[in-house]
């Protein structure tokens, strides 16, 4: 599902180029649940952005869900992203729309037939246990509920791969546990998961394969 081969990413920092990722190689198979761990600034977010083609690698090869990301044309990026579900630390919900409308919005812009939108959106909300809050606005949600809504939005289009960038970073331990349970639930239904977190205790609790990044270098791949 994911294959990185000797991937480097340099950012321009004044006259110098600063390495964010250095010679990173790994694969994540279809149906696998992998954790990308590391301290803040280790390169986790940069790596995820390379995977969904929000950034271009400076060197190396990347394959995601059958797409050669390094050779991807601009017009092909939406095709790649349609096969991905992406969740961020901040839920990125649209503040002027209800929870239901946030989910339906995704289906609408992807051209899903009108009569399929409502059942699919409610199915996704049910999967994250948020059906009763469908008509609430983001400002009326707790952080845990907002992250559940973001998860519902990510899975509503049945992605092959879920990329989660610090989805529990803003949550207390109990809420974080609930979100992780939901992600495991999504994974158990066949979606490949790559979860980035700086919370090493959380990573250890999950007892899954862990890829550890330190200063842009992959230092550990175990589990």
């Amino acid at each position: 599902m994911i294959r990185l081969h000797r991937v480097c990413k340099l950012f321009q920092g004044g006259p110098m180029k600063l390495p964010a990722l250095n010679d990173v190689s790994f694969t994540v198979d279809k149906g696998e649940f992998a954790i990308l761990s590391g301290a803040s600034g280790a390169g986790k977010t940069t790596l995820l952005r390379l995977l969904y083609a929000d950034e271009q690698a400076s060197d190396g090869d990347i394959e995601v869900a059958g797409f050669n990301v390094t050779g991807l044309r601009r017009s092909e990026i939406p095709l790649l992203r349609r096969s991905l579900g992406i969740v961020f630390q901040d839920a990125k919900l649209l503040s002027g729309r209800t929870v239901f409308e946030n989910i339906a919005f995704v289906l609408r812009v992807l051209g899903v037939p009108r009569h399929e939108i409502t059942p699919k959106a409610f199915q996704a909300l049910k999967a994250v246990g948020l059906s009763s809050r469908a008509q609430a606005y983001p400002a009326q949600l707790s952080q845990g509920e907002a992250q559940r809504a973001a998860l519902a939005r990510a899975i509503v289009k049945s992605p092959a791969l879920l990329l989660a960038d610090e989805p529990t970073g803003n949550l207390d331990e109990e809420m974080a546990g609930e979100i992780l349970d939901l992600i495991k639930d999504i994974w158990s239904r066949g979606t490949t998961v790559l979860l980035a977190t700086h919370q090493s205790r959380l990573a250890a609790q999950l007892k899954r394969r862990t890829l550890r990044l330190e200063a842009g270098v992959l230092t550990k791949d175990e589990g």
Partner: protein, 284 residues
């Protein structure tokens, strides 16, 4: 549609498109009516050959045949001394009695030569006049197309000025629509970010901006046409006597349906272009 979010800049964009299309349409209207006058006067171009003596019937037949054989001549009409005097009497109206006090008819006989189609340019009528002046029977040659061409030059000038002013204002309108749409894009950036992240095609992301620009353009075009129509309805009845006197035009006409459609489509294209450019700036 996010026109409300564009606020004053959106209204400015509509106003600039209105100004641009009103200028373009206004000059077009002037040029259109001048063009009608030019066409009408081109049809009326005559070269008059005043004769030294009134010809005998056989000499007239011979002269007419020779003139008709010249290049660029469509028709020749003989005006006798008596007919010329009768015309003068008619044109004097109430003062026609003056003519009766003349000791003899002072008016010369003449040939009224109508140039052929395509030979009404100043050069062609000058050539024709020179040939007619060379005839032994000719006393003097008058007439030509110089002043008609002068009118045509004014028409072309109006067209050029209209296009230039319209183009400058159109450019300003595009830039304003671009700014208005960029502001809306800024307000909607969270929405477009999500759209791109979930894999919406660029077309789906762009369409709202394109539509917003087009709606601004359409509104501008409709307001511009309304202004032109009101100006025409109020101004034309007042100007028509002057037009009749100076240009011989009985009435001023308004823009034709294709011209109106051109302005409406032009407005939509201007606005759409502004919307698309805004997308480019936002993406960059």
């Amino acid at each position: 549609m996010d026109l409300r979010r564009a606020g004053r800049v959106g209204v400015s964009a509509i106003l600039l498109i209105t100004l641009s299309l009103t200028a373009l349409g206004g000059f077009w209207l002037l040029s259109l009516n001048l063009g009608r006058a030019v066409a009408q006067w081109r049809d009326r171009v005559r070269v008059v050959v005043f004769l030294k003596d009134e010809p005998t019937p056989s000499a007239l037949t011979d002269l007419t045949r020779r003139v008709e054989a010249l290049d660029g001549v469509h028709r020749v009409r003989y005006v006798s001394k008596a007919e010329a005097l009768s015309s003068l009497r008619e044109s004097l109206g109430a003062q026609a009695g003056v003519v009766d006090h003349l000791p003899r008819n002072p008016l010369p006989a003449s040939l009224e030569v109508t140039p052929a189609e395509g030979a009404t340019t100043p050069e062609a009528t000058r050539d024709l006049a020179a040939k007619l002046a060379a005839l032994p029977e000719t006393e003097e040659v008058q007439g030509g197309a110089e002043w008609v061409e002068g009118l045509a030059r004014w028409q072309r000038l109006f067209q050029m000025v209209g296009l230039a002013v319209g183009a400058v204002l159109a450019l300003a309108a595009i830039l304003t629509v671009t700014t208005a749409t960029t502001l809306v894009l800024h307000v909607r950036r969270a929405e477009t970010e999500i759209m791109r992240l979930v894999g919406a095609s660029e077309t789906v992301v762009r369409i709202p901006q394109l539509l917003q620009g087009m709606v601004q353009g359409l509104l501008g075009a409709v307001v511009a046409l309304g202004l032109l129509e009101v100006t025409y309805a109020v101004g034309a009845p007042r100007l028509e006597p002057l037009l009749q006197l100076t240009l011989g035009l009985a009435r001023a006409v308004f823009l034709s349906l294709p011209q109106i459609l051109f302005l409406i489509v032009g407005g939509a294209i201007l606005g759409g272009l502004g919307g698309l450019l805004a997308r480019g700036r936002a993406v960059a």
